[in-house]
């Protein structure tokens, strides 16, 4: 039973990170029907910027807590600028292009960002400075750390904030209107360009937060870390029904739990035939099975006929 609880905790932590990244995908998709493949790279840049800024300030003698906050602020701002820039350079000019065209520019931007990061930060693994005290707790036979608790809390708060923004503010209303019908929304006086830019900026800020969480959790970062993380998060967004905010959150948490439990029990389930290195298969298998029965995700609305 303690393994079960332990894996649930691990899954929740990983899942909250997935959920935050998935929100970035789903917001952009909901509004413009585009898979922003470069979003994983934005997350990666968020982690690496934090490492540089916080690491530098800590070395300069600043208290860890302030250095961490400064790192967080700078990295969120950098990622917001990056998200805005991505939209301006790679997506806005292609809004009326064939549907696969922005997918290829997204992939191009993803390659560009990865290599820029490699030129700036090098190809080695970087250690993330310990921003949070390493306190451990025990509950019912399972161990968890302060970092894990904070990750879950911060992501829950952030998601609450996002829901408030989307369902209770004017900008949120404009976003929902745009996602339903851009042409009509613009006739009603919604500035479509600003709404789309806002979606990219907010998504990137969430991505930066997620990046910092990944850094504090795994204490390590690398210029290629965004790729698999982005892929998993995107899977989570699709699992929940892409374009749906609650779906992305639940999809992320669900994916984290499935992976953790899968990794914990796959050996027992298959009599030792498959080991925990098959962990990644679980995410995709569950996705395929879910989509077989619910072709537009767990919480998604029926998609249109855009093949």
């Amino acid at each position: 039973m303690d393994i079960f609880l332990q894996q649930i905790i691990n899954g929740l932590v990983q899942g909250s990170i997935y959920a935050l990244v998935a929100l970035g995908y789903t917001m952009v998709y909901g509004i413009m029907g585009l898979i922003n493949f470069a979003h994983g790279e934005v997350v990666m840049i968020g982690t690496l910027v934090t490492i540089s800024v916080a690491g530098f300030l800590i070395k300069a003698g600043m208290p860890v807590i302030f250095a961490g906050l400064a790192g967080l602020t700078v990295s969120v701002l950098v990622c917001m600028a990056l998200g805005w820039g991505l939209e301006r350079v790679a997506y806005r000019p292609l809004r009326n292009a064939p549907r696969l065209t922005p997918l290829i520019t997204a992939i191009g931007m993803s390659i560009v960002l990865q290599n820029v990061a490699m030129i700036i930060w090098g190809r080695n693994y970087l250690t993330f400075p310990p921003l949070l005290p390493s306190v451990a707790f025990e509950f019912g036979g399972a161990h968890f750390t302060a970092v894990q608790v904070i990750i879950v809390l911060v992501s829950a708060l952030t998601m609450g904030g996002l829901l408030f923004l989307v369902y209770r503010t004017k900008l949120g209303m404009a976003m929902r209107a745009t996602s339903q019908n851009p042409a009509v929304a613009s006739l009603m006086g919604v500035n479509i360009n600003r709404v789309i830019a806002a979606a990219f900026i907010i998504g990137s800020a969430l991505g930066a937060l997620a990046g910092i969480m990944v850094g504090t959790y795994y204490e390590i970062a690398h210029y290629q870390m965004g790729f698999m993380l982005g892929l998993k998060a995107f899977t989570a967004a699709v699992l929940g029904g892409i374009g749906n905010l609650a779906g992305a959150m639940l999809g992320g948490i669900l994916l984290g739990l499935i992976e953790a439990l899968g990794a914990g029990y796959i050996g027992d389930l298959t009599g030792g035939f498959l080991g925990s290195h098959y962990q990644d298969i679980f995410a995709f298998l569950v996705l395929i099975v879910v989509l077989m029965f619910k072709p537009s995700g767990l919480f998604g609305e029926k998609t249109g006929d855009r093949a």
Partner: protein, 356 residues
Amino acid sequence: MSKWLNPRSAFGITLIVVALLALPFVAAMGGQAWVRILNFAILYVFLALGLNIVVGYAGLLDLGYIAFYAVGAYTYALLASPHFGLHWPFWVILPIGALVACFFGVILGSPTLKLRGDYLAIVTLGFGEIVRIFMNNLNAPINITNGAQGITLIDPVAIGDFKFSTTSQILGISMSGPQKYYYLLLALVILVIIINLRLQNSRVGRAWQAIREDEIAAKAVGINTRNLKLLAFAMGASFGGVAGGVFSAMQGFVSPESFSLIESIMILAMVVLGGMGHIPGVILGAVLLSILPEALRYGVGPIQMAVFGKMLVDPESLRMLIFGLALVLVMRFKPAGLWPSPERKRELSDAGAGNG
């Protein structure tokens, strides 16, 4: 067929044929490495044309195409290497590889037929990853794929005593291994182009296009969309399987590393960048995107040395950086691809807001 007899086009065709036949000898002047690059370019043309059936004709976004290539490559590797001690001949394995890949295509296709657009994309992507993860890990408890180390010492293509891997004299001309593979690949790819051309205007090809444009309307006029979509998956997969077999024989070595998601994405980029659904465009896209990174590999380092006198930026990342920028810029200024089909170009300029 009468336009083929026109003296001007006959001249053009002769010129192309001569150029294609002479190409490996021209490339060899720059070293055998360039012949290999050329071979890979043809292999990518092969793959891109296979994916073009799925994405370009039938409009099904497949992000896991490399899985079929991998299946073909491993089929060849297992049946013609010391790993299991099997050394079956090339012709026997190639159709088997195509069949196995086709089978996988149907396995992937059948549960995903209901899905549309991006949902299909992510499922195919997941499928590709699953195949790769299995290849990476199927070395225990029974060693099937030899895990991450891959399979080595795969038999080269051979016809009787004539081996494709070594240099030999043909009609007094010395031909290296890669050069011989070039002609083999060229023959195969011409076959694929012919199949593609015939498919395009066939009943099946037109049905695919109908499904791509509007699936519900296609169903309404009596097209069996389920079977035709499956057929598109199966055919695309078989081409991938054959290409994988040739890759395996040519390299003599396969490992899961060659079949990562980025490869699937690259092949899709070739199809889209060239001009989806248009055979000359797809060929152009595949040749450009496979040669460009290699040309940059040879260009970026020396140019930096010449201009700045030292290596300012790691050439490997600089070359990928330029490659990524090229993808963005081409799509930015040529949204329908470099060489789209005339009808598609017209649709785009008419409609303004086109969707595929």
